[in-house]
Symmetry: C2
Subunit: 209 residues, 2 copies
């Protein structure tokens, strides 16, 4: 499948069928993940592939609780609840609620982890794990498998780490449900390039040709 | 170009020609960037495209100083200096030194920025910018353009922000030099999947079929 077709039609797919995903597809997705860069090529990442139904149910219960009890305490999401039901943000909320109620039904969950010890603190730690996460989302889309990047599990980080035996010092950077899509791939709504790209300085307009 | 060919041969290219990159290629790369996900689809990202030679020279001087004066104070990189010259890590250091000495010669620099105000603190802020950065690296590779994800500029974050007029509250998440490659694309050295993928629990082996 053509690269630009994949990258431009990858979008969050939160409504998934419970149909199993072949082992070969999971391997292909993870092979893509580890092609990503990491700071100093440390590769201090780990990917926990969760297929056991009982574990998925327990993680799903934590996720659901985190979603309904915690997420809407954040101003951004509280505002989203007040948005018009036709707004793009309200649609994302409706879709994310569906995921919160059905996470455990995704046949595979991947928890992307990073041992960030020794790295400079701050946002740049994410440079050593989210490129790999993005490769997972793209490779899944190339194989017709739906995903979404979630971090809501972090509201219940400790019990989830205990459940899976993840050492306390390891960060759980993203929880990615995988499944065949009920929805469709396609271009997601985005702010236009002209609003987010500057030339030569902050706010700098595109130079005339 | 096939998606899996792109993703598996994208690698850091730190030796670049000074040949200009067409505007259409930059646009295509940035269109790919904004297809990436961000937390709550906030899209609080900005991409500063730096082509002005004088600005590139000034950023290059900061980068070079940061590289030679700061980076090797970090234990990981100090150890790298002591590694055997044939080791993969020593090769990365040699290549990164070349970049530090020649950054300003890259015809285009992209500074990927994130306004993370209102986001939960910690590593997950990176989930709203590094997927877009990875799309930049992949789209460039699909177009035959070399890149690498660097964060070393952050050792000189304040003067670089002042130079470009970037507001203090905006994070500069990645500096990406772009140019046509002197080196070759190809599979980068990586730890094998068996070391970094676990099944159902931390350290869990692949289940028998």
């Amino acid at each position: 499948m053509d690269f630009f077709e994949v990258v431009s039609t990858q979008r969050a797919i939160r409504r998934l069928t419970p149909d199993p995903i072949p082992d070969e597809a999971i391997d292909r997705i993870l092979e893509a993940a580890i092609c990503a860069p990491s700071g100093g090529n440390r590769q201090s990442w780990s990917f926990v592939v969760i297929r056991d139904a009982e574990l998925r149910a327990k993680i799903g219960a934590h996720y659901r609780e985190a979603y309904f009890k915690e997420l809407f305490n954040l101003p951004y999401y509280r505002d989203a609840l007040a948005a018009s039901p036709d707004s793009p943000l309200a649609k994302v909320v409706a879709s994310s609620r569906h995921l919160a109620e059905h996470l455990a039904e995704a046949p595979v969950l991947i928890l992307a982890c990073l041992d960030a010890r020794g790295m400079s603190p701050g946002i740049t730690q994410g440079a050593s794990i989210y490129p790999a996460v993005q490769n997972i989302l793209l490779a899944a889309r190339a194989l017709g498998i739906g995903t979404t990047l979630t971090t809501i599990h972090r509201f219940r980080d400790r019990p989830i780490k205990e459940l899976l035996g993840i050492p306390p010092e390891v960060e759980t950077a993203a929880l990615i449900p995988l499944g065949y899509p009920l929805g469709k791939f396609g271009r997601a709504p985005r702010r236009p390039l002209a609003e987010v790209v500057f030339f030569d300085r902050w706010g700098g307009p595109r130079p005339a040709c």
